[in-house]
């Protein structure tokens, strides 16, 4: 950590290509107003000295105060997001994978999320997501992000969702669907892949957007890293006991109306099935969005998909499985949208190609597919109502499961913008 300090100190000198720009103060120092004559008037000499001293004190004048009404606050941006759902399931034990998914008939408080964000100082910004459920509080994320590292580097330290793929780094309130995607829940756990650790990202100086991400995080947690240490905690003996996440994110603006984001990700780490056994999860994600802004249109059509391949070393075998989802979203009016999603996960197979015993999901002996559809109504961008239905075709169950979810979301307070 101390190694970072000289880097930070060097930032000012590192400025990439400013055309001869000494960091000029934002404005000229405010002129010192003439003081009212006090009862016993000081000498002109004293006055001149006082004025000079005051002027010197106020030399690095702050930015001019806004004319009127500007909201000035040292408080961090704080927002609360409440997700409440009413659910109906045909199965007695529905196969929901998300930690905040409705799992039983009736009402569910999915979560009350509190998001806190603010710049710490000129070098760091702070971000935290706390989640309140009916029976406790959970620190989902809390991290600092550098804001002034040279060379287009950025470092995050703390507890954070890893930037594996496209949906994993995001919170439920930015999902198009009420529930978590099956591949995320199966491979990483109900909370998505996160951990305590350190992440470095670099924005390449290429003509198009290329971002490289590398992080090292704690590999434990039943609902955050279940394909790695999972519920076990063998402690930290070497860097191999950590989860390594690598990602390459690219973006291609295909004109002003069409966008394409494409990513490659890998998550590598230990698993507890035997000494030195490792798990590797490789994936690719794609996001294609059409929004005709050049014609003043309000509609949006997008496709998002991810494909993930997991390999796990277990005693005398290597288990492999494929998981993925694809979803189409159509915002057909200012306040209305519709979406459809297909998800799948194959049974884990061994080196001989046959279905093997899966220590994590022993019942997962056949292909599971889920098809969902929903419609969303946004009264404003701060609230939404969703009606969602799905059919879950788990190969190991005798008949398909059906479900219907009605969910409402409220967002109050100052909440930062979301990534594209």
């Amino acid at each position: 950590m101390y190694a970072l300090l000289p880097l930070i100190g060097a930032t000012a000198a590192w400025a990439e290509d400013p055309p001869a720009a000494p960091a000029a103060p934002e404005s000229a120092p405010a002129p010192t107003p003439a003081p009212a004559p006090p009862p016993t008037a000081p000498s002109a000499e004293d006055l001149a000295a006082i004025e000079a001293a005051l002027a010197a004190d106020s030399a690095p004048a702050p930015a001019p105060a806004r004319g009127a009404g500007g909201t000035q606050s040292m408080n961090p941006d704080i927002s609360f997001i409440a997700d409440v759902a009413f659910a109906w399931f045909s199965a007695e034990e529905p196969l929901m994978v998300g930690g905040h998914d409705p799992t039983a008939n009736g009402f569910t408080l999915q979560q009350l999320e509190m998001a806190i964000a603010a710049p710490v100082d000129p070098y760091f910004s702070f971000h935290s997501n706390l989640v309140f459920s009916l029976f406790g509080v959970e620190i989902e994320e809390v991290y600092g992000t550098t804001s002034a590292l040279p060379g287009r580097f950025q470092v995050r330290a703390g507890q954070f969702l890893t930037r594996y793929g496209r949906i994993n780094p995001t919170h439920p309130h930015s999902w198009d669907f009420v529930d978590q995607a099956v591949p995320i829940g199966r491979l990483f756990g109900g909370e998505g892949n996160r951990g305590l650790g350190l992440e470095a990202t670099w924005l390449a100086p290429t003509p198009w957007y290329v971002e490289l991400v590398a992080s090292e995080t704690y590999a434990g947690g039943e609902s955050t890293a279940r394909s790695f240490w999972g519920a076990q905690d063998p402690g930290f003996a070497s860097p191999l006991d950590l989860q390594t996440t690598l990602a390459l994110k690219q973006f291609f603006p295909l004109g002003s109306d069409l966008s394409l984001a494409w990513g490659l990700s890998g998550a590598l780490g230990p698993n507890p099935t035997g000494l030195g056994n490792r798990t590797e999860i490789y994936g690719t994600d794609v996001y294609l969005k059409y929004r005709p802004v050049s014609r003043g249109g309000e509609s949006v059509v997008s496709f998002q998909g991810e494909l993930m391949h997991r390999r796990r070393q277990v005693p005398e075998d290597v288990l492999a499985d494929w998981n993925g989802y694809g979803q189409v979203f159509w915002r057909f009016a200012r306040r209305w949208g519709a979406a459809a999603r297909y998800e799948f996960g194959t049974a884990a197979t061994g080196l001989d190609g046959t279905v093997a015993d899966d220590p994590l999901d022993p019942e997962w002996t056949a292909l599971r597919q889920r098809i969902s559809a929903n419609t969303t109504f946004w009264p404003t961008e701060f609230s939404r109502l969703r009606l969602q239905a799905h059919t879950d075709l788990a190969g190991w169950r005798e008949e398909p499961d059906y479900a219907a979810l009605l969910a409402v979301e409220f967002n109050v307070g100052a909440h930062g913008a979301h990534a594209f």
Binding site: T11, A15, D17, P18, P19, A20, A21, P22, A23, A24, P25, E26, A63, P64, R66, G67, A68, G69, G70, T71, P119, P122, S125, T145, S147, A148, L149, R152, F153, Q154, L203, W208, Y209, E211, K249, F251, P253, S256, S259, A261, K289, R291, V293, S294, R295, G296, E298, R334, R335, T380, E381, F382, V412, G416, A417, H418, A419, F420
Partner: protein, 299 residues
């Protein structure tokens, strides 16, 4: 050999000649910055005039523009709150972060309107606690913005300080000349009642002297309900409103209905200059003024 050396020297000195890279959030600001900067750098706009500036997608290529920028010129007053902060974080560029020398918030240069006096909350719709951010619709505000940008660019690039000041002065002179002619052209409209879709025309109606009777939106950012449209229709009939003003990125059906029911006129304009096509701020205002004069001239 000497030629080769000269060529090398020319190549090496290219970056210095490339000058300031300035990114503006909306096309009107890009157009004004262009006037101030001229050949001393490049200007890029992050959004289109056909795009609602409240809801721009934070596309990663915009973060790339910001990563390379020496200065960011923005409207401020939370107009860009839904997308700019995220891009700023992604840009990893301390020069243009809040507090950086290249962070140019133009709302600090102008006299603001519609600054809420009491407590505000979101039950009032998408209100801007700092004031109405659509000041670029008033050419008098554009004067102040041009001088403000010039001062900030001069601080970033002292060698160009004189050029920026004189470019801004030249722009303001041309704009003021045009403004006098626009004011003469629009003088017959002074005092006429209008309806606007969003509260984005406050500065414009103040400048032209139009009286805003109602907004098609019941509250800023809230789509109209049937009851509200009926209310607007009644107000239009009562005040004999003959003009409806709106931007192209707002829905057309309801304003068209109001126009047809009242026999009025509907003016739909882009939200700013077509910067990508080379349109200047003066050309853009000239276009709006002439369209308005033509429509408003009808009974």
């Amino acid at each position: 050999m000497r030629h080769l050396f000269a060529l090398l020297l020319a190549l090496l000195s290219l970056p210095a000649h490339a000058g300031l890279r300035v990114v503006a959030t909306v096309p009107d600001l890009a157009a004004i910055t262009r006037e101030v900067l001229r050949d001393r750098g490049t200007v890029t706009a992050l959004s289109l005039p056909t795009q609602d500036p409240h809801f721009v997608d934070a596309r990663p290529n915009l973060a790339l523009e910001l990563a390379r920028a020496d200065a960011l010129v923005l409207v401020g007053l939370d107009l860009e709150i839904g997308w700019l902060p995220n891009l700023l974080t992604g840009a990893r560029n301390p020069r243009i972060q809040v507090g950086g020398g290249g962070h140019v918030d133009c709302s600090t240069f102008v006299h603001l309107k519609d600054v809420p006096l009491g407590k505000v909350d979101r039950s009032m719709g998408d209100v801007h606690p700092g004031g109405n951010p659509h000041y670029l619709y008033d050419p008098r505000a554009a004067d102040a913005v041009a001088f403000g940008i010039a001062a900030r660019l001069a601080a970033l690039d002292p060698a160009g300080a004189q050029a920026y000041t004189s470019n801004a002065a030249d722009f303001v002179k041309r704009l003021d000349t045009a403004r006098v002619s626009w004011e003469a052209l629009l003088a017959p409209l002074r005092g006429k009642p209008v309806v606007t879709y969003h509260a984005s025309w406050s500065y414009f109606t103040d400048w032209v002297g139009l009286e805003t009777v109602a907004h098609v939106e019941p509250k800023p950012g809230i789509p109209p309900s049937p009851a509200h449209v009926a209310h607007v229709l009644a107000s239009m009939q009562e005040h004999q409103v003959g003009l409806i003003l709106q931007e192209v990125y707002y829905p057309e059906t309801t304003p068209s209905l109001l126009r047809d029911r009242t026999g009025g006129r509907l003016l739909r304009v882009a939200g700013g200059a077509d910067f990508a096509a080379g349109q200047t701020y003066i050309e853009r205002m000239d276009q709006v003024v002439h369209q308005l004069a033509e429509l408003g001239g009808h009974p």
